[in-house]
């Protein structure tokens, strides 16, 4: 019986060892929690920064023209171009340059084989067709989704 007690005492770790193991586990948990918190803050911060940048791109800042402002400027420039090339102005400029409106007697018609008359107006190409953009997955996935995705990428690179 005494032998058994001696063996148990030998196998059983010293109290300070047990204490150290608990402390180690606790520290490990704290480090893990800190890592998770850090990652979370990182993702949140990046999302906030990106959101802010989107806002700035839309509205513009003192140093940068925003999308809304850009659209307004484009519209203004197109209208200004139309105003500058309005019929009345173009006629006045042509007259000042010595031109006059053509009459039917001044026009010579010639037959040009293969000539195709002006095609009908088509403004399709004036404005690029806007395809809906796809939001990157980083903006919507959770941390767990991200970890799963990274792990899956590690398994199947």
């Amino acid at each position: 019986m005494e032998n058994i007690t001696q063996i148990v005492n030998k196998v059983k770790q010293a109290p300070w060892r047990v204490q150290r193991q608990w402390i180690g586990l606790l520290l490990l948990a704290i480090v893990m929690a800190a890592l998770v918190a850090g990652l979370s803050i990182n993702v949140t911060t990046r999302a906030a920064i990106n959101g802010r940048q989107v806002l700035m791109l839309t509205r513009g800042t003192e140093d940068m023209v925003g999308i809304d402002e850009n659209k307004q400027e484009n519209a203004a420039m197109e209208t200004e171009l139309a105003r500058l090339s309005a019929t009345e102005k173009m006629q006045a400029r042509a007259m000042a340059l010595g031109f006059h409106p053509a009459t039917s007697e001044e026009i010579t018609y010639i037959s040009v084989p293969g000539y195709v008359d002006n095609p009908p107006i088509n403004l399709t190409t004036r404005q690029a067709s806007l395809q809906p953009s796809v939001m990157k997955v980083e903006y919507s996935e959770t941390l767990f989704d991200w970890l799963t995705r990274k792990m899956a990428a590690g398994v199947n690179p």
Binding site: E73, P101, S104, N122
Partner: protein, 593 residues
């Protein structure tokens, strides 16, 4: 000592523990408290309104007729106002607002308002002056009288051509509502759909903003250069003839496309706030925004082309049918005379048209009879809306024999009844009222192998960069192709013999003049007339149709053949150059190749 130290440790640990528990408790409280949940819900999203820019309007060559420019909404942040007098003074100086009105507005702001609008649609030039003065204030910031002002830029309508095609385009009010023309007719299409979006304030819940589509742009069938030329010719004609108004419409009879539409008065569309000055409607004076579609009138002899076409198609007469014109024709108890009260003797149908003989046409329509004549007129669309895509169209008036028995108790209603003599007078365009557009649509059958087309001004729409081009719509076949060719030939001969002022060198034209008396309180005015001309060409392959109407000209010779026919000629001379339509001989030669 050892005991004291342990006690202090325990107290500190206990306090930290309580603090930690309090933090955990508060976290749980925030997460679960219903009141806080409501508060979070309220502030988690903000509602933001997006107004799509209004679609643009182009002519058939893609030249801009109506676009957008930045304008400013100018207002004040109420909590930043130091002295309302400064605000009212600045509003008067920079925004041309009434001083007292602004003071009253500031004294009674809407409940809960933080930002009060003082003016909207302020031009960029004016707003930028104000912004510069606000930013360049050299005194103490607290003393800046413009400090409370805020400026919100947005897009507003602008018409780079000012009054060009103004009656056809219409304009947009400050409430973003289209008035007149295509701006009204296609208001829903052009304005797009305003969108209200819930935007999460939490950046982690950021969602992608949907693309807010702008209003559709539209391409019109009109040609800017031709429109400008027609307006210039018309203005000159109205001036020279002292006419009350004038209207000229150019249409492609093969498709119904309106190539130019000019009418008086016009207006600078950028000055739409003064629309009442351009178009006075004060109870005594009525000025339609677009006379071509909104004002019906008795067209007079130009209507004879429809009567003759119906009679030829019906088989009542042939081009060689001879009628004896004794200068008077009695029908329904009334005597009908020619415009000059002369007798023209034996005349074939071409002669009847060339001399514009009322006596002859009245005999033709009465030979046709009520049923046939009015059936044809209805097939031509007389008395009905054409359906043109312009705001404010009126149907005109075609009285029918079924209306002769309508009960009436006052003279005005009596005049609306049909009488047997109407069959005779309607044949030469009296007692029937039409719009210019209605006459063009009806006559398109004569120029287009018997096929009548719907008049329209919309060529295509452009949505998200994709163009949808409209197809011509057929409105019916009131007459046969043979009849159409025959009447066109007769009218070409009539122009060559009797309406030389309408002739265009190198081009064979079919056409008809009209000089109509103007209805008055008791019958017809002795002095007022309407001068008209309708014509199309080239006669063997019509590519254009032009209608000219000069309302109540005050000149020595107010006849359609004298004052309206030359306007037609001038328009066609411009048209053939701008549209590259070669003279008949060259066209035949090129076709031979």
């Amino acid at each position: 000592m050892k005991f004291n130290l342990s006690w202090r440790y325990l107290v500190v640990a206990g306090l930290l523990g309580v603090f930690a528990l309090a933090v955990v408790f508060e976290i749980i409280h925030i997460q679960t408290d219903p009141e806080i949940k409501v508060l979070i819900g309220r502030s988690a999203n903000v509602v933001r309104y997006y107004y799509p820019p209004r679609g643009e309007i182009y002519d058939r060559q893609g030249r801009l007729l109506a676009g957008n420019v930045p304008v400013y909404e100018v207002g004040v942040t109420l909590e930043l106002i130091k002295d309302p007098i400064d605000i009212a003074d600045a509003a008067r100086k920079y925004l041309d607002r009434d001083y007292n009105e602004v003071l009253t507005l500031l004294a009674n702001p809407p409940e809960g308002a933080k930002f009060l609008r003082i003016a909207d649609y302020v031009s960029a030039v004016d707003a930028e002056v104000m912004i510069a003065d606000q930013e360049n204030w050299v005194g103490e910031p607290d003393e800046n009288p413009l400090a409370a002002f805020g400026f919100i830029a947005h897009l507003g309508r602008h018409y780079p051509e000012n009054d060009l095609a103004s009656n056809l385009l219409g304009f947009v009010t400050q409430e973003e509502f289209g008035y007149g023309g295509v701006e009204a007719k296609y208001n829903n299409l052009l304005s797009g759909i305003p969108v209200a979006l819930l935007i999460p304030t939490n950046p982690r819940r950021a969602v992608e903003l949907p693309e807010i589509p702008a209003g559709d742009s539209i391409i019109l069938t009109i040609d800017r250069e031709l429109q400008a030329a027609v307006q210039e010719i018309l203005n000159q004609a109205v001036l020279e003839t002292n006419s009350k108004s004038g209207t000229v419409v150019v249409m492609d009879p093969r498709t119904g496309e309106i190539l130019a539409l000019a009418t008086t008065p016009t207006m600078d569309l950028n000055d739409y706030r003064n629309v009442d000055q351009y178009f006075p409607n004060d109870g005594y004076t009525y000025t339609p925004f677009n006379r071509a579609v909104s004002q019906a009138y008795e067209p007079g002899s130009v209507f004879k082309v429809l009567t003759m076409a119906a009679a030829l198609d019906n088989g009542t007469v042939e081009p060689g049918t001879i009628i004896l014109d004794t200068g008077v024709f009695t029908y329904g108890g009334w005597d009908i005379y020619n415009y000059d009260r002369n007798a023209y003797g034996y005349q074939d149908m071409t002669g009847c048209l060339a001399h514009s003989l009322n006596v002859c046409l009245a005999q033709v329509s009465t030979r046709m009879g009520n049923d046939a004549f009015y059936s044809y007129m209805q097939r031509f669309g007389i008395g009905h809306l054409t359906g043109i895509d312009l705001a404010g169209e009126v149907p005109g008036r075609l009285k029918l024999p079924v209306e002769q028995d309508l009960p009436s108790s006052d003279p005005a209603a009596e005049s609306q009844k049909w009488y047997p003599v109407d069959l005779a007078t309607n044949s030469f365009g009296q007692g029937v009222s039409t719009t210019v557009i209605q006459m063009l649509m009806a006559a398109s059958a004569l120029a287009n192998d018997g096929q009548m087309v719907y008049p329209h001004v919309l060529y295509a729409t452009v949505q998200n960069g994709r163009q949808h081009t409209m197809s011509p719509q057929v409105a019916g076949n009131p007459i046969s192709a043979d009849t159409a060719h025959t009447i066109t030939e007769m009218l070409a001969v009539a122009v060559e013999t009797e309406t030389k002022r309408a002739l265009v060198d190198g081009y064979r034209i079919a056409g008809k003049t009209g000089t109509a008396q103007v209805p008055a309180d008791n019958g017809y005015s002795d002095t007022l007339t309407n001068a008209s001309f309708i014509g199309w060409g080239p006669a063997d392959d019509p590519q254009f149709m032009v209608y000219v109407w000069l309302e109540e000209p005050n000149t020595e010779f107010p006849w359609g053949s004298v004052i309206a026919a030359p306007v037609f000629r001038q328009v066609v001379e411009k048209m053939v150059v701008l549209f590259g339509i070669p003279p008949d001989a060259i066209r035949m030669q090129l076709a031979g190749h």
